[in-house]
Symmetry: C2
Subunit: 472 residues, 2 copies
């Protein structure tokens, strides 16, 4: 989550470190992992402190993921207070839990105090209630209150992701006073890009970017250069919506306010980048029929997350099967139909997936709306007909030659055009409908689209064959 290495001037060894530990392909070097593994086996704390202690949190995270589970635990034990807990925000949830659950709550409580509040929350939120309470009880009062407040906001809300450390000044201060305050106060956040302006009750009045402060004369009043915070984010706002605000208005940080408009924290772009990545990943996985999965999940967890989708697919597959079974007599008369059937279904399915992918993505980015829906639907239908015609000609000719049967070529070509049209309509209308009904189109569009292309494909092909060639 947060990275503060930019704020430790003089730590020049880092560039070299990066080149040392990562290979050309961006993956951590086996030699480095082996070296650390050997040091862990030798319980060589000195080497570990030297070679791991100086790494960036994300590098430690990559190292942890490359080690074996026992090595991870031993490394954390050996490093003790030198282990940078923020590295835990960089690893898979399963690995984080595995490491944290192995540590005594007293040690976690101590480590958590060193972290920015958002990182602390990130680690605490996955623990069960009892452990959370025990750890929080061991923290100083103000810290406990702050973390508790963040944890009380709903999961995936701005309040959960915010940092509760920020710089706030009253509106009547001058730029000079503000700069002097920053020079003297040792309690500033490690890194910040905005100063907030508040009234005595912590009500948010405005904000100033640091470059604005640096441009202004010392005598200028804060209230004269602050801008009203147009993008204050309610703590209960969903993180995805907050991320969209950041994207639309190119924010670097934004104030987070409670229900009384009081400043409670700050959301920063680096957390938002994580959210954007996460949400894009979620859409991709959902379209592939996978839930919130991580590579480190167990077989049981993975199987449990994937089976429901397969069961729905089983139901729709039985539907296609019953369509086919209606034409048993036709197939018995001409077995070539059975061989060609899957071609019609497969191409329809792929064309439907193309349209559906574009539609789902455009809905997620709010690019598809009432202003262009009509035009996009029209375009998809025309593309479906065009591509249908191209594929139909090829498949018609090949089928006619293969089975030495003109009629079969005509039938499969016609069925292909019909199915590509169904694919285009299904691929765009199903996600639009699901979105309208408040369902996530990424989750279920794919199954319904292929259901339609399978059913229409089989129906068109076998139905046309029966009628045109007088079979069955």
């Amino acid at each position: 989550m947060e990275g503060h290495e930019e704020t430790t001037p003089g730590d020049a060894g880092h560039e070299a470190a990066h080149a040392d530990i990562y290979g050309e392909d961006g993956v951590i070097r086996p030699a480095f992992v082996a070296h650390i593994g050997a040091a862990i086996a030798d319980r060589d704390t000195l080497t570990l402190r030297k070679d791991v202690g100086d790494l960036h949190q994300s590098e430690v995270g990559d190292l942890l993921e490359a080690l074996l589970p026992e090595q991870r635990r031993t490394l954390v034990d050996l490093l003790g207070a030198d282990f940078d807990f923020s590295a835990l925000t960089e690893v898979d949830e399963a690995i984080r839990l595995e490491i944290v659950e192995n540590l005594p709550n007293a040690q976690i409580a101590k480590a958590v105090q060193e972290l920015d509040s958002d990182d602390a929350v990130y680690i605490l939120e996955d623990l069960d209630q009892a452990d959370q309470d025990e750890i929080l009880a061991q923290l100083p009062f103000t810290e406990r209150i702050r973390l508790r407040r963040s944890l009380d906001y709903p999961e995936e809300s701005a309040g959960r992701r915010m940092q509760t450390e920020f710089v706030a000044v009253p509106p009547f201060w001058t730029v000079g006073q503000t700069i002097d305050y920053m020079r003297e106060d040792n309690n500033l956040p490690d890194r910040f890009s905005q100063v907030f302006v508040i009234d005595p009750s912590f009500k948010l009045l405005g904000a100033i970017d640091l470059d604005q402060i640096l441009r202004a004369k010392r005598s200028v009043k804060i209230e004269d250069i602050m801008h009203e915070t147009r993008h204050a984010i309610p703590a209960t706002m969903d993180q995805e919506e907050a991320a969209r605000e950041f994207e639309q208005y190119n924010l670097l940080s934004a104030a987070v306010v409670d229900e009384n408009e009081r400043l409670v924290g700050v959301l920063t772009i680096d957390d938002v980048v994580d959210v954007i990545q996460q949400e894009a990943e979620e859409d991709l996985l959902r379209m592939g029929g996978v839930g919130d999965e991580e590579l480190s999940d167990t077989v049981i967890a993975t199987s449990r997350s994937r089976v429901p989708w397969l069961l729905v697919n089983l139901a729709t597959a039985f539907l296609s099967a019953s369509v086919i079974s209606l034409f048993g007599a036709t197939i018995e008369e001409m077995v070539a139909l059975a061989a060609l059937m899957p071609i019609v279904a497969s191409l329809g399915g792929n064309a439907g997936t193309q349209t559906m992918t574009v539609t789902v993505r455009a809905l997620a980015t709010k690019d598809l709306d009432i202003y262009n829906a009509g035009r996009v639907i029209r375009r998809e239908v025309l593309v479906g007909l065009t591509n249908g015609a191209i594929i139909a000609i090829i498949i018609g000719v090949v089928a006619a030659l293969w089975f030495q049967n003109h009629d079969l070529g005509i039938v499969i070509a016609a069925a292909m055009v019909i199915n590509m049209l169904a694919a285009a309509l299904g691929g765009i209308l199903i996600p639009l409908l699901l979105d309208k009904l408040g369902a996530d189109p990424a989750i279920s569009s794919s199954i319904f689209t292929t259901m339609i292309t399978d059913v229409i494909g089989f129906l068109a092909f076998l139905g046309l064959a029966t009628w045109w060639m007088h079979l069955g």
Copy 2:
């Protein structure tokens, strides 16, 4: 791309504007679009200046996308110098080109001078060489050189995305001198979060975050608080790789250097956020069998981008068809096989897609590497067997009851387990292999995975049926 509205203090009308123009669903209000449309029809320049002139560039972008093509052109004409060209960086490429190509090059040249260099490049890079040259020829010398240099870097490189405006100071200055310089120089970039430190030949020595400057006493020397820039980005680096640096080290901005380590520009997180979005979108679209498509593309462009994928699919579908045709005699004897065939293929395809989606994503984020590949392959095989067993039992029982045939139930259940195993292996090994061969696994994994599940599925089901039930 760049957003500077945070740097225009006192512009308080904005929050109200946002609430006015967007509905609850985050889509621009039809009433607002209609209002602007009417003003365009009336050529009511006053209203347009008032109601569009004050909007944020991204809001103007959304408005442009909601208008009809003729309205867009007229709006830009009517606003003239009041039209914020940076709004063009917020719309689809097709719409941008349509607007820009309608304008005289002289007007574009004038507008481009008002833009940050990265926005200017973003608009210029899509134009053809002749127009680019004509526009550049009308710019002042230094501006021309800067833009030309950015445009000379390869597409999608850091050099293309960088901003050439930055603040740079010599190492021997004090914090006080630096602050005074920023107070007096009117040529500063609109927005910045770092000050770079350079030698007389523009060679990059280090950087300082603004909060570090604000914390330091006036007498402190710049070289004493600067940190060596560990993340200087070569201008030729691919934008995706640069984005990964930003993500890994939580950077807000980074120096871009030429081949002689001289500072040529700065890459900022807001541009990187766009890159991250774009790359995630690319992966999603590729997995759905779609190229770099935009909603505003024409029917021909869309069809052309999707047909190749369908042709490959046609070839693999013929492969499955020939497998089926091997078993013509078997199917003739028991037509129920034809009805059940697609179930085996469909479930295998879906299970394969699940595994493949997870694998492709993990490869893209570098989460899947030599350290966990073995474990992940083992897990996928076990998940395939587990889910295969679950689905096999259900489908076996249903098929046996449906067709009143025990043997058919046993055959389809066994075929299902075999196919789910093939799906798991194909879903993980194909993307891994493609990645190893230097191909993009997002593009072609899907087609090969379903090819394998189709072929293995039909072969296992029809083959087992022939052998076990002595058919054919």
